[in-house]
C-alpha cells in the first residue's frame, strides 16, 4: 500500500515488512481542525497520531513543550503509560491514526520497536545520537572495507562435527568459520556460537556444525564503505562479516578490527607527541590532531569518549612543551593546570588556552625566569594552533602564574567579597586539572578552597545563581514553526542547555566538596553521595552529552563552510533534522528541570 505512512522514520524503520503491512492496514486517516484536542494530560489515548501534514502542539500544564509537524509522531509517550502532555491541533492537520493496542502488540514481537516507546528519555537520546552519528560520512567513514585487516578464511563442510570445527578454528587462530553446504550455500559459525551450542544448549560435540551456523551468511563487498559494514554489524548484531570480491569470499571482517582501525589513528598521534624531541617536533604532532579529531567526530564515537581522548592529547602536548621550556626547579616545584572546560575534560577540539601555573610556596624560582618561561609557553601554544584565552586566563598573565599563597589569598577574597569576576575565576579554578608538575600543589589549593567554603555562609547560593542567568529556550520551536519568530530560529545550546547543566553540577559538587572535575564524573559522584537520584542523573548526563554533540556538529559544519566564532553555540532550528529537533527538545527539557531543582536547592527564588 502506497499511502502516507513513512516507514523510513524511526521507530517505523525497524518494523519488518509484514509488521508494516499490518500497521498500514489498521491506520485510519483523520482530518483535524485547529483547536481540536487529541488527548489530555493523564489520558490513555486510543491512537497515536502520525502527522502527514499540519501542526500539533504538546502542552504540559499550560506550557507548550513542543510542536509536532509532518513526519512526527504525537503521543509516543502515551503508549505504555498515561500521557504527560495535552495534544492540541494548531493548524489544519492530516494525521494517520495508529491504534495504540496494535503498536503494543507489534512491540511485544519486536523489541527494537518497543524500546523506542519504553526507553527512558535518556536512553532514547542515546539511541538517537548513535543514529545521527552513523549518518555522517567523513574521511574515516569513507574508508573501504578492504583497507581494514581481514582475517583469513577457513572453510568446513556442513557435516563437520562441532568439535572438529572448534579445533580447526583454534589451530588457525580464527574466531569464525565458513560452513559450506553441498548445494553451495554458505553459512557462518563463530566461536561464540559453538560455545553457546555446547554450554547453553547442551548439544553433543559431534553435532554437525551446520546445525549451529547461521545460513546464509551475511556478506559485504570488498569495496563497500566501512561505514556500511559497521551498520550491517550493528543492525544485525553480528561481529563477523565475510567479505566478497568477484563473488568469492576473500576474508572475514571482525568488529574489533573495525573499531581498532578507527581508534588506531589517535594512538599514532599520541605516539608522535611522546616521541617529539623538540618544540618543533611537538608542533607537528599538535597539527596532526586536527584531521584526527574531525575523523573521530564522524565515527559515531560518543562525545564523552572523544572529549577524553582530546583532553589526553591536549594535556600531553602541554606537559611535553612545559618539559621543554621549564628549568628543573620549576618542573619540580610547580603545578601546571588546565582550567575551565579543558580542566573538566570536555573539550572537543583544540580551543582557547585556559591554563595557570601554581608555584609551590617553598620552591626557589626566580621571578624574571618564571615570567620568561610562561611567556614563551603561551606564545608557542599559539603557534601550535591554540588561540589566546579571550579572558586572558593563561600563564603569560601574572595573575595566573604565581605562588600558592597568592592563589589562596585570591580564593579568600573571592569567597568573602563575591562579585561576577570572582565567581568566574573561582569557577575556572574549581575545574582545574593537572597537566604537568607536582599534583600535590593543586591538591593543597583545592583543600583550602573546600575548607573556606564551609565558612562562607550563603556563598554557594550566589555562586549557583548564574544557572538562572539565561532562559532555556523550550517552547521556542513552537514560535518558529508558526512563523512568528523574528530572529528566524537560532538557539543557543550553550547558554540554554550546556552552561546551566555544567554550572549547576559544579555548584552541587562544590557544596559536597567533591574532588571530581569532569561534569559526567561529578554527576556520578553526586549520585553516590545521594545528592541526585540515579534515574534523573542518567537523563542529565545524556542530555549534556547530546547538547555537546549538537554543538560539536554545528561547529564542524561552520568550520567547513566559513568560520564564525561567535556563532559557535548557535543552532539554527531549520538546520536540524527531525531527530535532532526531538533530541534537542528533550535535552533542553531536562536542562530546564535541572535548573528548577538547582534553583530550589539553593533557594535562588528567595533573592
Amino acid at each position: 500500500m502506497s499511502v502516507a505512512l513513512d516507514f523510513s522514520i524511526p521507530p517505523f524503520d525497524c518494523l519488518a515488512d509484514e509488521e508494516r503491512r499490518k500497521l498500514a492496514a489498521a491506520a485510519d486517516v483523520a482530518f483535524l481542525q485547529p483547536g481540536e484536542v487529541l488527548f489530555r494530560e493523564g489520558e490513555t489515548p486510543a491512537h497515536l497520531y502520525f502527522i502527514v501534514k499540519g501542526l500539533v502542539s504538546e502542552r504540559a500544564s499550560d506550557e507548550v513543550i513542543t510542536a509536532r509537524g509532518a513526519g512526527d509522531l504525537v503521543g509516543a509517550d502515551a503508549l505504555a503509560a498515561p500521557t504527560p502532555v495535552t495534544a492540541e491541533v494548531r493548524q489544519e492537520t492530516i494525521a494517520q491514526l495508529l491504534p495504540r493496542r496494535l503498536l503494543l502488540d507489534l512491540g511485544r514481537a519486536n523489541p527494537t520497536f518497543e524500546s523506542y516507546f519504553t526507553q527512558r528519555l535518556g536512553e532514547r537520546l542515546a539511541a538517537r545520537a548513535v543514529r545521527d552519528a552513523t549518518r555522517g560520512m567523513a574521511p574515516l567513514m569513507m574508508a573501504k572495507v578492504e583497507e581494514v585487516f581481514l582475517h583469513p578464511l577457513i572453510v568446513a563442510p556442513a557435516a563437520t562435527p562441532m568439535q572438529q570445527a572448534a579445533v580447526q578454528m583454534h589451530d588457525d587462530k580464527a574466531t569464525s568459520l565458513l560452513v559450506c553446504r553441498a548445494d553451495g550455500t554458505q553459512g557462518i559459525v563463530t566461536d561464540a556460537d559453538l560455545a553457546k551450542a555446547v554450554f547453553v544448549r547442551g548439544l553433543p560435540l559431534d553435532t554437525p556444525v551446520e546445525q549451529v551456523a547461521s545460513f546464509p551468511a551475511m556478506t559485504v563487498e570488498h569495496d563497500a564503505l566501512l561505514f556500511r559494514a559497521q551498520l550491517l554489524m550493528t543492525q544485525h548484531g553480528v561481529r563477523h562479516l565475510p567479505v566478497r570480491r568477484d563473488g568469492a569470499i576473500i576474508g572475514v571482517l571482525e568488529l574489533i578490527d573495525l573499531v581498532g582501525y578507527m581508534s588506531s589513528r589517535s594512538y599514532l598521534v599520541m605516539a608522535e607527541i611522546e616521541r617529539a624531541a623538540s618544540v618543533d617536533d611537538l608542533g607537528r604532532a599538535a597539527h596532526a590532531m586536527g584531521p584526527l579529531l574531525e575523523a573521530l567526530h564522524e565515527t559515531g564515537m560518543k562525545v564523552r569518549a572523544i572529549a577524553e581522548m582530546v583532553s589526553d592529547l591536549n594535556r600531553s602536548i602541554l606537559r611535553r612543551l612545559f618539559g621543554f621550556l621549564a628549568p628543573p626547579a620549576l618542573l619540580a616545584g610547580a603545578c601546571l593546570v588546565v582550567m575551565g572546560s579543558e580542566g573538566r575534560g570536555e573539550q572537543l577540539a583544540r580551543t582557547d588556552q585556559d591554563n595557570a601555573l601554581i608555584v609551590a610556596d617553598g620552591a626557589y624560582i626566580d621571578d624574571a625566569q618564571l615570567r620568561d618561561v610562561c611567556a614563551r609557553f603561551t606564545e608557542t601554544l599559539i603557534t601550535y594552533g591554540y588561540p589566546r584565552c579571550p579572558g586572558n586566563m593563561m600563564v603569560s598573565n601574572p595573575q595566573w602564574a604565581k605562588r600558592e599563597a597568592a592563589f589562596r589569598a585570591d580564593i579568600d577574597k573571592w569567597l568573602m567579597h563575591p562579585d561576577g569576576e570572582g565567581f568566574l575565576k573561582l569557577a575556572a579554578l574549581t575545574d582545574a586539572a593537572v597537566a604537568a608538575g607536582d599534583p600535590l600543589v593543586l591538591e593543597r589549593l583545592r583543600r583550602h578552597l573546600f575548607e573556606r567554603i564551609g565558612n562562607a555562609g550563603g556563598f554557594l547560593s550566589h555562586f549557583a545563581r548564574p544557572v538562572l542567568q539565561f532562559d532555556t529556550p523550550i517552547g521556542f520551536f513552537h514560535q518558529i514553526l508558526l512563523g512568528h519568530g523574528e530572529h528566524a530560529g537560532e538557539i543557543d545550546v550553550k547558554k540554554g542547555g550546556i552552561f546551566p547543566i555544567v554550572h549547576g553540577v559544579r555548584a552541587l559538587a562544590l557544596e559536597r566538596r567533591l574532588e571530581e572535575v569532569n561534569s559526567f564524573a561529578r554527576i556520578d559522584a553526586l549520585v553516590s553521595v545521594g545528592a541526585l537520584e540515579r534515574g534523573f542523573a542518567e537523563d542529565l548526563a545524556e542530555a549534556l552529552q547530546y547538547l555537546m554533540e549538537i554543538r560539536l556538529r554545528v561547529r564542524l559544519h561552520k568550520d567547513r563552510g566559513g568560520a564564525d566564532a561567535a556563532g559557535d553555540n548557535l543552532v539554527r532550528a531549520r538546520d536540524l533534522s527531525r531527530l535532532q529537533h526531538d533530541g534537542l527538545r528533550d535535552s533542553l527539557l531536562i536542562a530546564k528541570r535541572f535548573k528548577e531543582r538547582v534553583s530550589y536547592h539553593f533557594h535562588l527564588d528567595a533573592f
Partner: protein
C-alpha cells in the same frame, strides 16, 4: 421542493421495482445517516461505453475520518485488452489484472461495501457509469446512491469565496484534480492508483465540508 422529493422518491421506488435480484434490495433502504464512501476506479480506457474496470478502491468516511482500516481495494479482470495509453496512466499491465476478480463479483463486493451511503469522488460520473455498465445488464438498475462531486463542492466554495470578495466574477475555475489538491493545500500522493486517488478525493471532501476556509494563502 415537496414535489421534487416525492418525484425522486418515486424514481427510487420505480428503480427498485426493476431490480432483478431481491438480494440487492438493501441498496434502496434509507440513506446511511452519517457515513459516505469515497471511491475511484482505474479502467481499460477513457471511453465510458467501451471501457472496463480493472481496479476499484473505496474508503468509508465517518465524521472527520477516512476509515482506511476498512477500505476496499479490488483488482478486476477486464473483458477486453487494456489500451496502451491507459497502461501508461495507471501502470496496470494485462498480467497485473489477469488474476483479478470477475467484474460482477467485484461490483457485488462493492455494493455490499457501500450499502446506502452517498458516494463521493472526483469526476464521479465516470466511475458511476463504469459500475453501472456492469450493474445494468445484470441487476437491471444502476447505482441509486446519492453522488457528491468533489469538483462541484470545490466550484461552489470558490464561487462563494469570490462573491464575498468581489461582487463580479470573471474568468474560469480550474477544476483539475491536481489544481484542486494544490489549492486546498493537500498532500499529493502518487496519483492513478485507485486507493490513493480515492484517499486524495476523500481528503478534499473532508476539507471542503469541514474546514472554514481554503488553505493558508
Amino acid at each position: 421542493m415537496l414535489e421534487f422529493l416525492r418525484r425522486s422518491f418515486d424514481r427510487r421506488l420505480w428503480a427498485r421495482s426493476r431490480l432483478r435480484d431481491p438480494d440487492y434490495g438493501f441498496l434502496f433502504e434509507q440513506e446511511h445517516p452519517t457515513e459516505v464512501v469515497v471511491f475511484d476506479t482505474e479502467t481499460t480506457g477513457l471511453d465510458r461505453k467501451r471501457s472496463d474496470i480493472i481496479s476499484l478502491a473505496a474508503i468509508r468516511i465517518s465524521g472527520n475520518r477516512l476509515l482506511l482500516s476498512h477500505h476496499l481495494e479490488l483488482v478486476v479482470r477486464p473483458s477486453r485488452a487494456i489500451e496502451h495509453a491507459a497502461v501508461a496512466v495507471h501502470g496496470l499491465r494485462p498480467m497485473d489484472v489477469a488474476g483479478g476478480l470477475p467484474a460482477r463479483e467485484a461490483v457485488s463486493q462493492f455494493l455490499h461495501f457501500i450499502g446506502t451511503r452517498p458516494l463521493v469522488g472526483y469526476y464521479l460520473e465516470f466511475d458511476i457509469a463504469m459500475v453501472n455498465r456492469v450493474m445494468r445488464p445484470w441487476l437491471g438498475v444502476g447505482l441509486p446512491n446519492r453522488a457528491i462531486e468533489v469538483s462541484g463542492l470545490y466550484y461552489d466554495r470558490v464561487m462563494r469565496d469570490r462573491s464575498s470578495r468581489d461582487a463580479l466574477y470573471t474568468g474560469t475555475i480550474d477544476l483539475s484534480f491536481a489544481h484542486i489538491l494544490a489549492d486546498l493545500d493537500l498532500p499529493m500522493l502518487p496519483a492513478h492508483d485507485a486507493l490513493n486517488d480515492a484517499l486524495m478525493a476523500g481528503l478534499a471532501y473532508l476539507k471542503l465540508t469541514l474546514s472554514g476556509g481554503r488553505g493558508p494563502e
